[in-house]
């Protein structure tokens, strides 16, 4: 089949990554950071963030857009890490145990979130965004009042001096970078977290495999057209809930990997912006609300975090104030989400308009042609 490449569409899809490549190309020399430092930082951030961002792919596949509800999984991961810390489990076993503990919490939150999103079809993103605020309230109730009073917490280093509630910061020194340093490898002065990348590789293979399974195909069908999928006998609601549950569980694992790299939990804020930054990184990689790939994740992390690293230094060089660079990167994070959403909505409307025009033309040519028209695109 000879498919014509629409350069305008390709350019439009790649607009955000191109914009970021330009920003990075200008920012890197201005920042004055060495190539070695940059490479080290990017490698660390790739290991830290990729797993979290990969958790966003499955809901996109199921047509549920960018899952701001991944924050729920992040909270589950944090609760699990707090418990594991209190039980004084250390190292890799602590991470494995935290991952196991986070699963039931993530599943419960995922089922709840998925059920709510089923009631808000077509408005999943804003619903999941607000949902993350709602669950954050419950998370605070659990962590601030129930831990130490109802849920036993023994250690004073974790508990607030008043006897219940968790401190602002919980140290994860006992598991800090244990996964990253499990297989030590340094190439040309750049430290590569081999074990973390192996975990990411397994995750990528899982996603590739999952897309080919019956459930994966069902999700794609649901993502393309819920009505057609339902007619084909797919339980649309159940499939959508499963996609959110998988995303939430993976986000929990991702948060554990993220926090082991950081070495501490900011109990009340670690999760709050995680969804926003992960989604921004994915969009920077060229993904859209309805289409995202593993390649987008890798490209997005590299570009977004290069911008994050160079912006303060470049800002300091240009304006003499590093805070300008800091404002810039925060502004860019939110702006990129806005641009991506506007672009998605514009292209959706354009497609709808074109389909309407096509239908009008077909009606002009007679009813027979209409019957043979591809109604799936309308």
């Amino acid at each position: 089949m000879n498919k014509k490449i629409d350069f305008r569409e390709v350019l439009q899809r790649s607009l955000v990554p191109i914009m970021f490549i330009v920003i990075c190309a200008i920012g890197i020399p201005l920042s004055g950071l060495s190539v070695g430092y940059l490479a080290n930082e990017i490698m660390t951030r790739m290991g830290r963030n990729i797993f979290l961002i990969l958790s966003l792919l499955i809901p996109i596949m199921a047509g549920m857009g960018l899952n701001f509800g991944m924050t729920l999984g992040a909270m589950a991961g944090e609760i699990a890490l707090i418990l594991v810390c209190d039980w004084q489990i250390v190292g890799i076993p602590a991470m494995v145990l935290a991952a196991i503990i986070s699963v039931p919490i993530s599943i419960a939150l995922g089922v709840f979130c998925g059920s709510i999103l089923n009631q808000a079809k077509g408005r999943e993103m804003i619903t999941s965004y607000i949902m993350s605020f709602f669950i954050n309230g419950i998370y605070q109730l659990v962590v601030l009042y129930m831990m130490g009073s109802i849920i036993p917490i023994r250690h004073g280093s974790i508990k607030l001096p008043r006897g219940y509630g968790i401190r602002n910061t919980v140290s994860l020194l006992s598991m800090r970078q244990k996964l990253d340093n499990l297989i030590p490898l340094t190439v040309g002065g750049v430290k590569i977290p081999v074990a973390t990348f192996l975990v990411i590789l397994v995750m990528c293979l899982f996603i590739v495999w999952f897309r080919r399974t019956k459930l994966g195909q069902d999700m794609r069908a649901v993502g393309q057209d819920m009505g057609v999928a339902r007619d084909a006998g797919i339980n649309v609601e159940r499939t959508r809930i499963i996609s959110i549950v998988i995303s939430t569980v993976l986000a929990g694992f991702g948060m554990i990997i993220y926090l082991q790299n950081m070495g501490n939990i900011a109990t009340y804020s670690s999760h709050s912006q995680i969804g926003m930054f992960c989604i921004a990184a994915l969009l920077v990689g060229g993904a859209s609300v309805d289409k995202a790939s593993i390649g987008n994740v890798f490209l997005g992390v590299i570009l977004f975090h290069t911008m994050f690293i160079v912006a303060p230094k470049a800002g300091a060089t240009i304006t003499g104030d590093s805070m300008i660079g800091e404002y810039f990167r925060v502004f860019v994070s939110y702006a990129v989400i806005t641009i991506a959403l506007v672009m998605y909505e514009t292209s959706k409307r354009r497609k709808k308009k074109a389909a309407g025009r096509e239908l009008q033309d077909l009606q002009g040519h007679g009813g027979d042609d209409l019957r043979t028209a591809d109604l799936g695109t309308l």
Binding site: V90, G91, P93, P161, S269, E326
Partner: protein
């Protein structure tokens, strides 16, 4: 696959996950082991502190203790092995011994009195739990709503 078999697989998978969690619970238990070089009196018997004790764990020296000194190391799991090199008197000969022991699961911090342990006293004599002295702390209020810097804090302080 019939329903019965499906449930057997599900229960089996759950059992495996629970077993893994239980194993992690045991092998991942962290302890802080403190080494004391102090004189100890037990049941009317007094064990004197030697001039110097050097403790190595996993081939790495973790403590060099003179009289009334304390060292420490963090360890994972219940089995604890160390190499102890004791010099009884200044300028004297160094005696090396390898020691292996099981650490009690319920103790986070464990104090080992090395002279008593090397003198062959029972565990109740040389092993005690380390209990942190309570300290007065100002009330810490959780700061909710702080923006997460995605690990940028270090970067900002560098600037």
């Amino acid at each position: 696959m019939n329903k019965g078999r499906k449930w057997i697989f599900r229960i089996g998978a759950l059992a495996i996950v629970l077993a893994v969690a239980a194993v992690m619970f045991v092998i991942g238990r962290g302890h802080t082991v403190y080494f004391d070089n102090r004189e100890l009196a037990y049941n009317g018997k007094t064990v004197a502190a030697p001039y110097k004790i050097v403790v190595s764990v996993d081939g790495e020296q973790v403590a060099k203790l003179y009289d009334k000194e304390r060292g420490m190391t963090d360890t994972m799991g219940q089995k604890f092995s160390m190499v102890v090199r004791i010099t009884q008197e200044k300028g004297g000969e160094e005696k090396t011994s390898a020691v292996s022991m099981n650490l009690p699961y319920n103790m986070d911090g464990i104090i080992l009195n090395i002279p008593a342990m090397m003198a062959g006293l029972p565990e109740e004599a040389y092993l005690t739990e380390f209990i942190q002295a309570p300290t007065e702390e100002p009330e810490e209020e959780p700061a909710e709503g702080e923006d997460d810097m995605m690990g940028e804090e270090e970067l900002l302080t560098d600037v």
